[in-house]
């Protein structure tokens, strides 16, 4: 077994991925089931000259993460359910001030304290709409320990490339299970860092975007003096009440993600080539769904799995394509119905959309999706 191949826990792989991506700063607050991410970061960061700090609360964890990024360090924080709620205001700050960082949310049963040690996929909509106001969101959701490692690197890359907070969604199952990981996969991924200004320091416009709609970002202390604010601001970074400035800023914020959808949206298609029946699932549930698809195939049903890896922005075109191909889509998720609404929105004109959910803190298993599929197929 090569020393790059390891048995790692999901949360452990997340930290390994972050370090491979260049994380140098972590600020957070302990919460089940994400705590191992803080613990391992605390252990590993000082060894590479990086910094870890356990803040006084979740809000401070998010704030310090943004501060660390402004000081020029690739920064991450991790949390679960209640902590994700508390982080929302400053997450919005990160969106408007365009501060790259990664926020990991290991989903657990909610609402409120809910089921702290049990899995859930109840934060799908919160990831998009948790903070107030319109804003773009990138949220990714891997389904294996290997993919947690790889996708964590991707999250940092996207955060840096698009100057935005990126949410990494996990669930208690994939975060806590241990599985084989090949850490050499990092060799196949290009590590991206934010564009920094190289021009004259005088007259630096921190929010003047290039053609790619992404402004160059200066680290504090490098001579490019700037003002960063959560108020609506113009290209100078200073607040403005002008309707035009507000419109321009918002339009660019939304558009910088919109025009890069192709790069951001990732999904897996499994046995969908000739399928007329599809299951849509992500995270731990997608692993159960894969077993279900195989069992349905053994029965002669032309079943396949569509697994969004990028939850937000929505893989709209791919889902529309899927809806035109199959007669029925089952969306299986550990909640009362969240992603299914988006699937219904884009797919219901073309095919039947059915929902299978579970909210008792237990994972959705392959047998129950199979039984539900059999019922739907009747």
């Amino acid at each position: 077994m090569s020393n790059k191949i390891k048995l790692l826990q999901g949360n452990e792989a997340c930290v390994e991925g972050a370090l491979a991506a260049g994380m140098e700063f972590y600020a957070g607050y302990p919460i089940t089931p994400s705590t191992e991410i803080a613990e391992i970061s605390a252990q590993k960061l000082p060894a590479i000259g990086g910094h870890f700090i356990q803040m006084e609360d979740e809000i401070a964890g998010m704030a310090a993460t943004l501060g660390g990024s402004l000081a020029g360090k690739k920064s991450m924080t991790a949390t679960s359910g209640p902590g994700f709620s508390l982080k929302q205001e400053n997450l919005g700050y990160g969106c408007i001030a365009e501060i790259p960082c990664v926020i990991v949310n290991v989903q657990r049963g909610g609402p409120s304290t809910g089921l702290p040690t049990s899995p859930s996929q109840g934060d799908i909509m919160q990831a998009k709409w948790g903070t107030h106001g319109d804003h773009p969101v990138i949220a990714l959701y891997p389904n294996s320990v290997q993919e947690i490692f790889d996708i964590t690197i991707e999250c940092f890359n996207m955060a840096e490339k698009y100057r935005t907070p990126v949410i990494l969604l996990l669930d208690e199952i994939i975060a806590h299970m241990r599985e084989k990981v090949d850490l050499s996969s990092v060799d196949r991924i290009k590590i991206i860092s934010r564009k920094r200004p190289t021009g004259p320091k005088e007259g630096y416009l921190p929010y003047k975007a290039d053609e790619d709609l992404i402004p160059d970002m200066a680290d504090f202390g490098t001579g490019y003096r700037q003002h960063v604010t959560g108020l609506t601001h113009d290209v100078t970074g200073f607040p403005s009440n002008s309707p035009k400035v507000a419109l321009d800023m918002m339009t660019r914020l939304m558009k910088k993600i919109e025009i890069n959808k192709e790069d951001i949206i990732k999904y897996e298609e499994y046995r969908l080539e000739d399928a007329d029946f599809a299951i849509v699932a992500f995270g731990a549930t997608s692993r159960a769904a894969k077993d279900t698809v195989n069992r349905l195939r053994e029965d002669g049903v032309k079943a396949g799995l569509f697994r969004p890896i990028t939850i937000w922005p929505l893989a709209e075109d791919a889902l529309i394509g899927l809806s035109k191909k199959v007669n029925t889509i089952i969306v299986a998720e550990m909640n009362m119905g969240q992603y299914v609404y988006e699937v219904e929105r884009v797919a219901c004109k073309n095919c039947k959309v059915e929902f299978y959910g579970r909210i008792d803190g237990q994972p959705i298993n392959p047998d129950e999706i199979y039984d539900f599929a059999r019922e739907v197929l009747k």
């Binding site: 140098e24 700063f25 600020a27 000082p46 060894a47 000259g49 910094h51 700090i53 803040m55 006084e56 609360d57 809000i59 401070a60 704030a63 310090a64 993460t65 943004l66 501060g67 660390g68 990024s69 402004l70 000081a71 020029g72 360090k73 920064s75 205001e89 400053n90 700050y93 680290d219 504090f220 202390g221 490098t222 001579g223 003096r225 700037q226 003002h227 960063v228 604010t229 959560g230 108020l231 200073f238 607040p239």
Partner: protein, 273 residues
């Protein structure tokens, strides 16, 4: 440096005049902070001014350094991230009484406890000015605010005692009237390698003054002079201190600073490798 040279050197002139009301004490406090920076001959490129939300926190926008205007109450949490990620930066937090002791109270006590090298200047005007005059954690009992129409039943915080009890290694108070003393306190606070807390008593004639019949801006400024006494004088002549509020340097006991302690861990791990 005279004031107009100071403005040229350290302010974003195009952002002035500021938004504060005529008679507000905040401009003097901001001036004292910049005067202290100038006296210490600090490199402006290495200075990071972090503020929260409220009247006081608008100061960051006028000051020509690396400036960060954060969310309500969270200036110290952002500042902690900045300082921790790059300890070579000189980090100052400009905040208000509501910002740092109500919504941001938790961050204040923990930044103090860590003794992280951040100098916090709390502009205390005893009221939420930006939202129109609601009572804050430093509004005196029985005073009026728009949310205390029958008189405030809350007991106010003594911000300096709070910071000291929480672990700040430099603590002082002065007022917008005693601008020179305030400047010295800020200077000493910056020089202290650790968490420094300076309460800058300001005044809000528009809301606090009007609600509480404190007279006009001049009257209020007079109070900032007459109601306060330096702790050194008060110690020598206690009879002069009767019914006065203490100001001056309350605490100055340097201890090992947080990011330096962390650096020791980094160095230790490097040696082991």
């Amino acid at each position: 440096m005279n004031t107009s040279a100071l403005v040229k050197e350290y302010f974003r002139e195009e952002k002035l005049p500021h938004i504060w009301c005529p008679g507000c004490g905040h401009g003097i406090v901001m001036h004292a902070v910049v005067r202290a920076i100038d006296n210490l001959k600090l490199d402006p490129e290495k200075i990071c001014i972090v503020s929260g939300i409220g009247c006081s926190s608008r100061a960051s926008g006028y000051m020509n350094f690396n400036t960060l205007h954060t969310t309500h109450g969270r200036a110290l949490a952002f500042a902690t991230g900045v300082k921790m990620a790059n300890p070579s930066l000189e980090v100052l937090v400009l905040t208000g009484d509501g910002d740092c002791s109500a919504i941001g109270g938790n961050h204040l006590i923990h930044a103090a406890r860590r003794n992280i090298d951040i100098t916090t200047i709390a502009f205390n005007n005893n009221i939420y000015g930006m939202t129109g005059g609601q009572y804050s954690p430093t509004t005196p009992t029985d005073s009026y605010g728009t949310t205390a129409p029958y008189g405030n039943i809350d007991k106010p915080f003594d911000l300096c005692n709070l910071a000291k009890a929480a672990g700040a290694t430099y603590v002082g108070r002065s007022t917008a009237y005693y601008a020179k003393q305030l400047t010295t306190l800020v200077e000493n606070g910056i020089k202290n390698k650790g968490f420094s807390f300076i309460e800058a008593v300001s005044s809000c004639p528009t809301y606090y003054g009007r609600k509480n019949k404190k007279g006009d801006a001049v009257e209020m400024m007079k109070s900032l002079k007459d109601d306060y006494i330096d702790i050194k004088i008060a110690e020598k002549k206690p009879e002069l201190a009767e019914s006065k509020i203490l100001m001056g340097e309350f605490y100055n006991k340097p201890e090992e600073e947080y990011t330096e302690k962390y650096q020791k861990i980094i160095d230790l791990l490097k040696k082991e490798q």
